[in-house]
Structure formats: structure tokens, C-alpha cells
């Protein structure tokens, strides 16, 4: 902007000329008059015509009708402006001269020199803001036209531009640079060494309490990085600036500074949103997986139940006819008894042998029928999952009860069997929400297996010093509890561990086990109670089963899930 004094005033030759003269004088006067606006908390209290005109509005009413003083401030400058207003209102320091950007009525951007002062307005303090068209720095005023064009061009740029010569002296800087760093306009004229700006930053506390002689050389070194340096820095007023140093052919530097605070904020928001979405997706995947497993288990359960029931009918006949046929055979023999005399001794012998075979066959049919019946019953238990109710249960009590039950059952089968118990039950375990019947079944299963393994090792090893030991421990782990059952029996071969939970897999001699015990236990612990079931074993040393149950389990029963 030209200084008014430099404006050539045309000589007045006529009234029209005089009017024209007066008009241009008035225009000049208005142009040099500072725009004045008073506001508090963003609300515009007053503005003068000069301000309205500076911003491209016809009347002050249009300005007063704006949403607030901040609606004229571009987004990237909001934080700094608000900060400056607050500083001004709290009355700290002298009036501030700053260089600022404002939206004009046509939403174009215009740079202004700004003076902020606190004023008494009506019932309290307010911010008085004086805006004038930005003036070239006095040191720039004498620049040739080329230089002035360059200055105007870099001032129009949306990013801060700082030009340094090879000695790190300022050659020029644009308005955005001053705004970004919150420097008063005109503070660092060309020729100022860049270390002065760093000193200024240090004095106003930008670099914290670190000693000056450490900070300044470190910061200076950054300007001298050869090549294109990219650095993202959080500058003292809280904004994030992307700083790039581009060396020039003549040894100087052009440093551009992009205000990326908003971009960073959006990036962060996006990242958070993405993380949230991913977490939800992960949860969905897990739930889906669980549902698939549940669905498989459910259909398997239904199938098993169906098969089991269908088998019961033919079994009914097999078992009953086998038994009945035995009875009929006995009756037949009773009837035929008197006939023996009429047969040759050889024939009697043959008849006896045949009858013996028939009876033994019938016994076998009955035995196997009963065995099939047992399997069918376990299958039904398996698919039914007990159907017990969820209750708050004192876990240690449940463990003790299951232990006593299984021990007596094992002793009933083999009165010579006895074992040492080591109980290590943590009282902090307390009560737990679970299906007591089902968990009890799991425990009885495990204890029975342990007793079987202990007894087997005792029989096999023949070592009189072998002491069968069963170690039972419970542990409170905050949001979950752990039950550990360890025996020093025969252990489990590595090749078998993987198949342990497979339905119908058993290592017991044919007829002794159904192979459903651990499979059912796994189902109860993992699918019904959302727990974990871990096995560790070294053959002929130990087997250890660890059950982890969450304290907060969703109350589902296997039976209920099946119906879904």
C-alpha cells in the first residue's frame, strides 16, 4: 500500500475535479484509518465503518450480524487468536502488535497488522482490536519492485516461509511465518541472525528449563542440515508444524513451515476411529468364530442325541431278546432234561456243548448290549450337557465333594487302592457363577482318570517306594480362577495328548471307557463356561490338568444353545 503522502494529488481545475479530489482524499483517509472492533468472549460489541470496509462489508451492521469475531478467523489460526484474545483480556503485558489473516466478506483471505488492547466496555473488560492493511516492513520498503513482488508472493502463501543466507541470517520471511511462531510483525528485520529468533523463543520459555547453551546450538544445527530435511515439530503454542529445509544453490536456505495441526488432529481422529473399528471387527470375528464353534457343537449335539435315541430302540430289543432267549433256553433244557436218557452219551455231550456255547453267546450279546447302552447314555449326557442351572457356587467345596465322590468310587472298584492327597485350596477363590452339576462332572472325570493312572502305574512299576500322589490346587487370579489337578501316575504319551478331547477316544481297554469323559469335560469348561482347559504331561512322571474359569461367565447352557 502506498503511503498517502506519496499519492499524487491532481490540481483542482473545476468543481467536479474538486469533488473528485475530495472523494479520493476521503478514500485515502478511510483507507489509512484503522479498522476498529471491540469484542468479548467472541461476541462482537462494536465495530467502525473503516473495519467493515477493510473487510469488504458495506456497513457495520453486516459485521455486527456475523456469528462472532472468530468467524472471520481461518481455522488454522483459531487457536492462536483465541490465545491472543485471552492474553489480552487477562490484561497481561502491553498492547500486542501482531500480523494476522482474516476472511473478507467474499471469503478471500487478507493479511492485516493487528493491535490488541484491553478496554473498559460497558460492564467489563473487552478486547479492542485495531486492524490496518499490512504494511511492508520498513526494511523491505526500499526493495526494488522485483523484491516487493517476491515479498507479496510469499506473503500470499499459506505456509510459513523463512529465507536464510549461508551465514544463517534472515533474508526474508512471510507473514505466515510470523503468525505461526507468534512473532510481532517487524520483529526480525532482514539481516537478523537466526540465533536471535531462537534467543527470543528461549526467553519466552519455548524450550523449557534446558540450559540455553545446549538448546540454541542444537536448534541452530537443524537449520544447517544439508539436503531436504523433514521434521515434524510441536511448536510452543501447541501447533504442529512440518518444517522442511531446502538448501539453495548460493549456500542459503529456504525453510518452509506447514501448519499441520488440523491434519494431525484429523489423522489422529481417523486413527482412533480405525483402531476402534478394528477392535470391533476383531471382536466380531471372535464372536463369529465362537458362534461357528457353538453351532457345530450344537448340531453335533443334536445329531448325537438323535443317534443315541434311535439306537435305544434296537438296543431295547437286543438286550431284552438276549436275556429272554437265555430264559427260554433254560426252560427248554428243563423240559428236555428227561429226554437225556434216550440219547447216546456222545449226543448228550454234543448237546451240552452246543447249549454251553449258546448260553455263552447270549451272555456276550447281553454284555455288549449293556455296553452299547452305556455308550448311548454317555452320548446323551454329552449332548445334553447336563442342563443344570447356573448358580453361585463355593468352588473349593465343589472340588472337595467331587474328590471324595471319585475316591470312593475308585475304592469301590479296587479296595486295595489308596493314594496321598495334597490339597492346596485357595480360600480367596470363594464363590463363582457356574453350573455345579456340570463342573462337578468335569472334576469327577478328571479325578477318576487320575486314580486310574495312579493305580495303573502302581501295578506296572512294582516299585514298593512308589507313592501315588494326587495334588489338587485352586487359585484366585482376580477375574478368573484356576483349578489344577496333578497326579504322578502313568502320564499321557505325547502322541495321545492331541487326541485327548476327541469324542470316543480312549486309552482304556475296550469296554472300560466310552471315550467321552474328557470330550464332555472340554465342552463344559470351554464352550459352556468360556474357560480354558490345559494339559501337560510327561509319560511315567505326571499328568497335569489345568482348568481356568472366568469369574464373569455368560450364563449359557449347552442344552439352551442347542435349541437356538
Amino acid at each position: 500500500m502506498d503511503e498517502p503522502s506519496n499519492h499524487p494529488v491532481p490540481p483542482s481545475g473545476s468543481v467536479e475535479d474538486a469533488r473528485e479530489n475530495a472523494r479520493s482524499y476521503r478514500d485515502l483517509l478511510i483507507e489509512t484509518m484503522p479498522g476498529l472492533i471491540v469484542h468479548r468472549g467472541g461476541r462482537i460489541l462494536y465495530c467502525n465503518t473503516a473495519l467493515a470496509n477493510l473487510l469488504g462489508y458495506e456497513t457495520t451492521e453486516e459485521v455486527l450480524a456475523l456469528r462472532g469475531v472468530l468467524s472471520m478467523v481461518p481455522d488454522d489460526a483459531l487457536a492462536i487468536e483465541q490465545d491472543a484474545y485471552t492474553r489480552c483480556l487477562t490484561g497481561r503485558g502491553r498492547p500486542e502488535a501482531r500480523r494476522v489473516k482474516r476472511f473478507r466478506a467474499d471469503s478471500s483471505l487478507q493479511w492485516f497488522d493487528q493491535l490488541l488492547e484491553t478496554v473498559e466496555w460497558a460492564d467489563g473488560l473487552a478486547v479492542m482490536e485495531l486492524l490496518t492493511r499490512m504494511r511492508p516492513h520498513p526494511a523491505n520498503a526500499d526493495l526494488p519492485r522485483q523484491g516487493q513482488l517476491l515479498q507479496a508472493a510469499i506473503d500470499a502463501m499459506p505456509n510459513g516461509v523463512l529465507m536464510l543466507d549461508s551465514e544463517l541470517r534472515l533474508e526474508g520471511a512471510n507473514s505466515e511465518y510470523f503468525r505461526l511462531w507468534d512473532y510481532p510483525p517487524g520483529m526480525f528485520p532482514p539481516g537478523t541472525h537466526v540465533s536471535i529468533t531462537l534467543d527470543y523463543n528461549y526467553d519466552r520459555g519455548d524450550y523449557g528449563k534446558a540450559p540455553r547453551e545446549e538448546v540454541i546450538p542444537r536448534m541452530l544445527a537443524k537449520f544447517q542440515v544439508k539436503g531436504l530435511a523433514n521434521a515434524e515439530r510441536v511448536i510452543p503454542n501447541g501447533r504442529i508444524v512440518d518444517i522442511r529445509t531446502a538448501p539453495r544453490a548460493d549456500g542459503g536456505y529456504v525453510i518452509t513451515q506447514y501448519d499441520i495441526t488440523d491434519r494431525k488432529r484429523i489423522e489422529n481422529e481417523l486413527r482412533e476411529a480405525r483402531d476402534r473399528a478394528e477392535a470391533i471387527l476383531q471382536e466380531l470375528r471372535e464372536t463369529q468364530q465362537q458362534l461357528i464353534v457353538q453351532e457345530k457343537m450344537a448340531s453335533l449335539g443334536q445329531l448325537t442325541a438323535g443317534i443315541a435315541h434311535e439306537l435305544k430302540n434296537p438296543l431295547n430289543f437286543v438286550n431284552n431278546f438276549a436275556e429272554l432267549t437265555g430264559e427260554l433256553l433254560d426252560e427248554l433244557l428243563a423240559l428236555m432234561g428227561p429226554l437225556d436218557d434216550r440219547l447216546s452219551p456222545q449226543a448228550v455231550e454234543e448237546v451240552d456243548a452246543l447249549v454251553g456255547d449258546l448260553q455263552s453267546n447270549l451272555r456276550k450279546i447281553a454284555d455288549h448290549g449293556r455296553r452299547a447302552d452305556r455308550i448311548v447314555k454317555s452320548m446323551l449326557d454329552h449332548s445334553r450337557g447336563g442342563g443344570g442351572e447356573w448358580q453361585r457356587t463355593e468352588l473349593n467345596g465343589l472340588v472337595e465333594e467331587a474328590l471324595a465322590l471319585s475316591y470312593h468310587a475308585s475304592r469301590a472298584q479296587d479296595p486295595h487302592f489308596n493314594t496321598t492327597f495334597l490339597r492346596d485350596l485357595d480360600p480367596a477363590v470363594g464363590e463363582l457363577q457356574l453350573v455345579p452339576q456340570d463342573i462337578s462332572r468335569v472334576l469327577v472325570n478328571l479325578f477318576t482318570n487320575s486314580f486310574y493312572a495312579l493305580r495303573k502305574r502302581q501295578l506296572i512299576c512294582g516299585d514298593p517306594d512308589y507313592q501315588p500322589t494326587l495334588h489338587v490346587a485352586t487359585r484366585d487370579c482376580g477375574d478368573k480362577i484356576v483349578i489344577q489337578i496333578r497326579d504322578n501316575g502313568t502320564g499321557i504319551p505325547q502322541s495321545v495328548i492331541g487326541k485327548l478331547f476327541t469324542p470316543f477316544f480312549t486309552t482304556k481297554p475296550t469296554g472300560e471307557g466310552t471315550g467321552l469323559g474328557l470330550s464332555l469335560s472340554y465342552d463344559i469348561v470351554v464352550h459352556q463356561h468360556r474357560g480354558r482347559f490345559d494339559v501337560a504331561s510327561v509319560e511315567n512322571q505326571y499328568a497335569e490338568f489345568t482348568i481356568t474359569l472366568p469369574r464373569a461367565a455368560a450364563s449359557v447352557s449347552l442344552g439352551e444353545r442347542r435349541k437356538v
Binding site: 430302540n313 431295547n316 437286543v318 431284552n320 431278546f321 427260554l328
Partner: protein
């Protein structure tokens, strides 16, 4: 006197089984067993009058057509004086509760233990004769 029992089951082999299991009682003329392979057939037989009259009904639950529980419901409405014992492979608590709710005297699970069934039949018949 001869007491009549009606056995309802869709498996035809049930007839052989019952006849052989109760052969002593049948031979002595204490029992007469009628058979029906569906609930519908059983209802027809009951309506047309059985000789000797059935004093006890044993019925399967899972049958094609009318199932045992519906059949039981029919009997409870039309023949309330005849006790019904359900014989089923589905011996779970749910089925038992439903059968007893509708009015079954008892429920026996398959495979049938005839010693138990015989005792049950005898008790029912004794109660019946005492009444």
C-alpha cells in the same frame, strides 16, 4: 380273572417281546395283551371295545402320526379311569415332567427293564383291583 393290557408302539417286534416276557402270566390266563402299532389304531381299538377290557395302557412316545403324549391327552379326557404308563427312549427330565403333567401314571425308559415293568404292572393292577 383276566386283565387286559394295551401296548402301543410302532415297532412290531414289541409284540413278540411282550408275549415272551409275560408268557407265564399269559399262559396262566392272568393277562391278555392287546397291541396297536399307532395311537390312532389304539384309539379305534379302545372305542370298539376290547375283550377283556384294557385296565392299563403302555404307550411309546415317539411314534409316527399322533405321538404318545397327545394320545395320553386323549385318554385322560376320554378314559380317565385307565392308568397309562409311558415307555420311551426319551427318558430325560423334560419328557418325564411333561408326561406326568399330562397325567401319565409313570414313565419307563428303553431299553425296558422288564423286572421293573412287571412290578409296575402288578402295582397298577393291584391298585385297580383294590379300588
Amino acid at each position: 380273572m383276566t386283565l387286559g393290557i394295551l401296548v402301543v408302539d410302532d415297532e412290531p417286534d414289541i409284540e413278540d417281546l411282550f408275549r415272551q416276557r409275560f408268557r407265564a402270566e399269559l399262559r396262566r390266563g392272568e393277562l391278555a395283551i392287546h397291541f396297536a402299532t399307532s395311537a390312532e389304531e389304539a384309539l379305534t381299538k379302545l372305542n370298539s371295545g376290547l375283550q377283556p377290557e384294557a385296565v392299563l395302557v403302555l404307550s411309546d412316545i415317539n411314534m409316527p402320526g399322533m405321538n404318545g403324549l397327545d394320545f395320553l391327552g386323549h385318554l385322560r379326557t376320554n378314559l380317565p379311569q385307565v392308568p397309562v404308563v409311558m415307555v420311551t427312549a426319551y427318558g430325560d427330565t423334560e419328557n418325564r415332567r411333561r408326561a406326568l403333567d399330562i397325567g401319565a401314571t409313570d414313565l419307563v425308559t428303553k431299553p425296558v427293564d422288564f423286572n421293573v415293568l412287571k412290578k409296575l404292572v402288578n402295582t397298577v393292577i393291584e391298585q385297580k383291583s383294590a379300588a
